[in-house]
């Protein structure tokens, strides 16, 4: 198989269950091509973050994958030994987390935290890692890298911390970055800058991103393709432009109607229609029925 034709990330009918038997992911399939941004939208509890965690191999111990494969550049992650998997993932993937405060170790300075990974996992020399980090901090528009690398996380603002984390994510030139609601914990004004920064670095580095969000506005700005998730099931997937132009699934249409618009700020928001939810419920029930039959 030629690596060039493989998608960067390929998830094939992935299902995961909780200990009580409830499926949190329902045969999810999606792929991210090299250099592409794929948005994953859905409401809270739809399983967006769960997919991200499954890809990165950090699912909570209680969640069990019962079906499906995750392929990173054609390599089946489920077949790898834990150690080999860790090394592969450490080199080829990265995470831009949701909460920039807890994602940095509070008792270690920024600089060592950023270089550590390059040195220990990728075997770079300390000097090379330092240069690389400075270069990345410059790319995320941090003007005083000396101060920042010597700081503790709590000495930086939320926006600065998120910039640091973005720089850290891109530092090792991963093929795939999972961005888990990277703007949710930030002020609205900072959100926009951070989003622009991620988009810019993504273009320059050609990194594929799985962008998890609940914000359709963000989806429109950053992604080329979208998967709409409801209750752990992909209900619609399309090119971003096509999705916004003509949403096919009633749930997608309802989500769009529920998005606030700046053009008419006084219009009341429309909650998702009862009929749409009922349709979704029966769709999910049918999917579960079909799934249970072969799986007993």
């Amino acid at each position: 198989m030629n690596a060039a034709v493989n998608p960067c990330l390929d998830i094939r009918s992935l299902s995961a269950v909780l200990p009580n038997g409830v499926r949190v992911l329902r045969s999810v399939s999606l792929s991210v091509q090299p250099g592409e941004v794929r948005a994953l939208v859905g409401e809270s509890g739809a399983g967006k973050t769960m997919i991200g965690k499954a890809v990165l191999g950090v699912l909570p111990p209680s969640v069990r994958i019962v079906e499906g494969d995750i392929l990173l550049e054609g390599e089946d992650l489920g077949r790898l030994q834990p150690k080999a998997r860790r090394t592969l993932m450490g080199a080829r993937t990265a995470l831009i987390p949701q909460d920039p405060l807890t994602a940095l170790n509070p008792s270690r300075r920024i600089g060592p935290q950023m270089t550590d990974r390059l040195v220990r996992i990728l075997g770079w020399s300390g000097q090379r890692a330092d240069i690389r980090i400075r270069q990345l901090l410059d790319e995320v528009q941090i003007r005083d890298p000396d101060r920042v690398t010597k700081s503790y996380p709590h000495e930086l603002s939320g926006g600065m911390r998120q910039r640091v984390l973005i720089a850290a994510a891109f530092a090792a030139e991963p093929r795939l970055i999972v961005a888990d609601e990277p703007t949710t914990a930030l002020d609205v004004t900072v959100q926009k800058q951070i989003l622009r920064l991620i988009a810019q670095l993504q273009r320059e580095h050609g990194t594929a991103i799985l962008f998890v969000t609940h914000d359709l506005g963000v989806v429109a700005k950053i992604s080329q393709k979208v998967s709409v998730l409801y209750a752990g099931k992909v209900v619609e997937e399309a090119e971003t432009a096509a999705l916004f132009a003509s949403p096919q699934h009633p749930y997608t249409r309802a989500l769009m109607a529920a998005t606030p618009r700046y053009t008419n700020p006084f219009a009341s928001l429309k909650p998702v229609d009862e009929a749409v939810l009922a349709g979704l419920a029966s769709e999910i029930a049918a999917a579960d029925q079909a799934w249970r039959r072969p799986h007993g």
Binding site: R86, M89, A94, P97, L104, N105, S107, R108, R120, I121
Partner: protein, 282 residues
Amino acid sequence: MDDGRISRHGSGAKLWLAGGWLLLALLAALFAPLVAPQDPLAQDLMFERLPPFWMSGSEPGFWLGTDSLGRDLLSRLIFGARIAFVVAFAAALAACLVGSTLGLISGYFGGWADRIISRVVDVWMAFPPVLFAILLVAVLGTGLSSVIIAIAVIDWTRFCRVIRAETMGQARMDYVENARIAGYGRIGIMLREVLPNVVPSIVALLSLEMGIAVIVEAILSFVNLSISTDDPTWGGIIAEGRLSIHQAWWVLVFPLITLILTVLSFSQFGEGLKARFDPVLR
């Protein structure tokens, strides 16, 4: 922010006062033969039950008076500090090493390791500590090393419980997950990422434990189960002072004050250090 600043200043004063007393006591203990005005073991029946220096009937050179055998109280306290500090450091360090290691493993790995360690701690803590100590010393025989071992064996659970809880809290933080994604092994994450975040608690607890070790040693020497030689110990002096409380109150009161100040200083010093070295609180 204001509250933080006020409490930090408060902890600064506490830190210096407690640290000052501990330093003074430590130096006195280290250089006891030089600073003690008298031989702590020299008996002189002519000078028995001399009062402290400000009362009438006191003799120069016997600042805090003498006990019923005419031994200088200040010198005995200074020499007693040697044993108190040796026990404090050795026992607390041993308890800390064992307890923190098990706590870290228990809190970070969870699962069956946590279940086993936690049950052992529960059973351990069901024993009344002082009775446990007396039992242990009875089995091990009296002597300095027995006292140290007894205290470490009893009190490692304190470290284990606190560090386990702290570690569990830290292990849930996103930075630990990030480190996993970055490809670190579990032991590497535990030592490099989690451990530095529980060190402030370990330090505070270590200092507190030193104070507790001082008390336990005093209790054991009070019931004559500590070291078996004639070397003065604070607990031993208190026990002797109790017998002559009506004739010479100072023999009981001064060692008590010394003991309380030292124990209090250890605990306050630990709190102060934690406040100073925890980057989040700082």
